[in-house]
C-alpha cells in the first residue's frame, strides 16, 4: 500500500526533533498566558512557579492543572490571550449543569485544527475525490463544523447532513454516493440497523468506505459490528471542544490506538485522584496542553477522559504518540462494592456474546446492587425458555469474570431500551448513600 501523508515533514518528524519543537512551543505559550491571562498568572503564582522554571518538557509537571472550573472564572472571556478582535469563532460544550463551557478560536486556530483533521483524513486513506456525509450536530458543538473545515481543506465534497432524520441520511448516501460518514457510534449502529431492516445492501446500494466515529467512547466489538453491518472501515476519532473539537486523536489504518498530533498538543496521562503522572500502559486521565492555540490556550487541561499511552513506532510511519481508545469518562467510572467499573468494560463483554442485541443499560440501586438490562437478539429467540436462561447465565458469568462483581442480568425485549442519536445514556444510578 502506498503511504500518503498530508504534512509529511511534521507527521514523520523524528521523536527528538518533535520534542524540541514541543519544548519551543510550550515555552512560548507558558510565557504568553503568564503575561496576558491574569487567571493563569494567579494560578502559577499560587503554585509557586514562573515561566522561567520551565527548563525541559518534563517541567510541565511543575505547573498547575486547568480544570473545567477554570473555564468559568471571569466567564466567558476570562481565559482569552488575544483581544476580542482576533477571535472569530465561539463553540460551546454542554456542561452537565449550568452554563456551557465557552471556547474561543482565532483565524489561525480554525486553520490549524482544520489541518489536523485533513492530516487525519489522509491518514485513513481518504482523498479529495471522497464524499463525506457529516452527520454530527452543526452549530455550537464543535463536532460537525471542525470536521467540515478539515474535509474541505483536504478537498473532499462535504454533505452537511447534520444528525437525525435517518431516512434522509440513507437517501443522501444513495443519491450522492457518500463514501465517508462522520457520526457518533451509537447513531451509526442505529443507521446500520435501519439500513439492514430496509433491505438496502451495503457495498451495492450504498457505497460507504469509511466511517469516522467519535464523540462517545465505544468498544472494539462495536467497531467490528458496525464494520460488518455497513461494510466499512471504522476509524475511531477523538476530540473535545476544549481542545478544538475532533482531530485531537485519530486512528491510522493500524487501528491500534489513536495518534495525537504532538506538534499541537502536549500529552500526559495522570492518576485521576492524585494527579501524579502514569507510565505507558497505566490507565488514567488524559491531560492535554495546547501548543499552538492562540486565542485561548489551555495548560494541562484535565480532559476527564480515561486512556493509556501506547509507546513505540507505528506501522504507518508517523512518529506522533498514540493513546488507547477512550475507556470512559473519569466521571462515568462508578464503584460497585468497592470495585471501579467503566461502562466500556461491560459493553465489551456484551458485544462479544451471541444472542445479545445492541442496547444495554446499567442500573445501580439499593445497597450497591448492579442490574444490567440487556436486549436479546430477535433472531436468537427460538421459543425455548432454557435457551434464554442459559444466555442469561452466560452473560452473568462472563461479566462476573471481567468485572469481579456479580451483576444481576435482566433480559429485555429488543428495541425497548433507549437508543440515543447523540451520547447514549448507559448508567442510571439510583443508589441513595
Amino acid at each position: 500500500m502506498v503511504k500518503r501523508y498530508f504534512r509529511p515533514e511534521i507527521e514523520l518528524l523524528s521523536r527528538d526533533a518533535l520534542k524540541e519543537l514541543q519544548f519551543k512551543r510550550l515555552k512560548k505559550i507558558i510565557n504568553k498566558v503568564y503575561n496576558l491571562v491574569p487567571h493563569y498568572r494567579e494560578k502559577f503564582k499560587r503554585a509557586g512557579v514562573k515561566p522561567s522554571n520551565l527548563k525541559s518538557l518534563e517541567d510541565i509537571r511543575l505547573f498547575p492543572f486547568t480544570t473545567r472550573e477554570d473555564l468559568f472564572v471571569d466567564y466567558p472571556f476570562g481565559l482569552l490571550a488575544e483581544p476580542l478582535e482576533k477571535v472569530v469563532r465561539l463553540h460551546t460544550s454542554s456542561g452537565t449543569t449550568g452554563k456551557p463551557k465557552a471556547l474561543f478560536f482565532s483565524k489561525e486556530d480554525i486553520k490549524a485544527q482544520a489541518e489536523l483533521i485533513a492530516r487525519s483524513l489522509v491518514m485513513s486513506g481518504a482523498t479529495a475525490s471522497d464524499i463525506l456525509q457529516n452527520s454530527m450536530t452543526y452549530g455550537l458543538f464543535t463536532g460537525a463544523l471542525v470536521m467540515h473545515y478539515g474535509a474541505e481543506l483536504l478537498g473532499m465534497l462535504v454533505i452537511p447532513a447534520g444528525p437525525g432524520n435517518t431516512e434522509r441520511q440513507i437517501e443522501l448516501m444513495q443519491t450522492f454516493g457518500t463514501t465517508c460518514i462522520h457520526m457518533t457510534p451509537s447513531y451509526a449502529l442505529y443507521v446500520a440497523t435501519i439500513i439492514q431492516e430496509r433491505g438496502i445492501r451495503p457495498g451495492i446500494d450504498i457505497k460507504l468506505k469509511r466511517a469516522y466515529l467519535g464523540a462517545e467512547p465505544y468498544s472494539e466489538e462495536t467497531r467490528r459490528k458496525i464494520e460488518t453491518m455497513l461494510k466499512v472501515e471504522v476509524y475511531n476519532c477523538y476530540g473535545l471542544s476544549e481542545m478544538g473539537g475532533p482531530g485531537v486523536g485519530f486512528e491510522c489504518p493500524a487501528k491500534d490506538g489513536l495518534h495525537i498530533w504532538e506538534d499541537a498538543f502536549l500529552v500526559e496521562v495522570v492518576n485521576p485522584n492524585t494527579g501524579e503522572p502514569l507510565n505507558p500502559g497505566e490507565v488514567g486521565e488524559l491531560v492535554l496542553t495546547t501548543l499552538n492555540r492562540t486565542a485561548m490556550p489551555l495548560i494541562r487541561y484535565r480532559t476527564k477522559d480515561l486512556t493509556t499511552l501506547l509507546e513505540g513506532p507505528c506501522h504507518c510511519g508517523r512518529t506522533h504518540i498514540k493513546i488507547a481508545r477512550i475507556l470512559g469518562r473519569a466521571d462515568d467510572m462508578f464503584i460497585v462494592r468497592g470495585v471501579n467499573i467503566f461502562p466500556q468494560q461491560i459493553e465489551g463483554v456484551l458485544m462479544s456474546i451471541k444472542g445479545v442485541a445492541q442496547n444495554y443499560q446499567i442500573i445501580l440501586e439499593g445497597y450497591d446492587e448492579m442490574t444490567i438490562k440487556v436486549e436479546i437478539d430477535r433472531e436468537f429467540f427460538d421459543g425455548r425458555i432454557e435457551r434464554i436462561l442459559k444466555l442469561r447465565e452466560e452473560i452473568t458469568e462472563r461479566l462476573r469474570q471481567a468485572l469481579q462483581v456479580r451483576p444481576k442480568v435482566e433480559l429485555v425485549e429488543p428495541g425497548t431500551l433507549p437508543i440515543s442519536e447523540g451520547k447514549a445514556k448507559r448508567v442510571i444510578d439510583k443508589r441513595v448513600l
Binding site: I376, R378, F381, D382, G383, R384, I385, I388, L389, E410, L411, V412, E413, P414, G415, T416
Partner: protein, 143 residues
C-alpha cells in the same frame, strides 16, 4: 401430525401481556389455547391460534419478538387417568415432555392437550400407533 404454536418473548413489565393480546385481537385472531412460562424478569407466552402467521405478523409489527414452532395437539379422554394414559406411552418410548398445556374447549368427549417433547416425530409415530387422536391444523382452525 404437528401444529403450529406461536411463542412470544415478554418482558416482565406491566401491560405487556395485554398489549400482545390486543395486537392479535385487532387482527381478529382467536386464541385456542395459551400458557405462560415465566421467570423473575421475563416470560414466554405460548399460544395456539386459528391463524399463526397473521398473529406473528401482527405481533412483530407491534414490536414483539416471536417465533413459530411445532407442537402436537392430542385428544385425551376427559376422565380420571386420561392424560396419564398418553404420558405412559411417551414414558415407555423414552420421550421427555418439555411442556404441556390444555385447550379451553373440548372436542366432543375429548379434552385437547398441547404437547412439546424432545422428539416430536417419534412422539407422533408412537401416539398414532397407539391410536391416540392427533389434531391437525385444519382441525384446530375449524374448532
Amino acid at each position: 401430525m404437528k401444529i403450529k404454536q406461536i411463542s412470544v418473548f415478554l418482558e416482565n413489565k406491566k401491560g405487556r401481556l395485554y398489549e400482545a393480546l390486543t395486537a392479535i385481537a385487532k387482527e381478529g385472531v382467536n386464541i385456542r389455547a395459551l400458557t405462560i412460562a415465566d421467570t423473575s424478569d421475563f416470560g414466554i407466552l405460548r399460544m395456539i391460534v386459528n391463524n399463526p402467521e397473521l398473529a406473528k405478523k401482527a405481533l412483530e409489527e407491534a414490536g414483539f419478538t416471536t417465533k413459530i414452532t411445532s407442537v402436537i395437539a392430542v385428544g385425551v379422554k376427559d376422565q380420571p387417568g386420561g392424560l396419564a394414559e398418553v404420558l405412559k406411552i411417551l414414558y415407555e418410548g423414552d420421550i421427555n415432555v418439555e411442556y404441556l398445556y390444555a385447550f379451553v374447549e373440548k372436542s366432543g368427549e375429548e379434552a385437547i392437550v398441547v404437547l412439546r417433547t424432545d422428539n416430536l416425530d417419534k412422539t407422533v409415530n408412537l401416539l398414532q400407533q397407539a391410536g391416540v387422536k392427533l389434531f391437525s391444523s385444519t382441525d384446530i382452525e375449524s374448532l
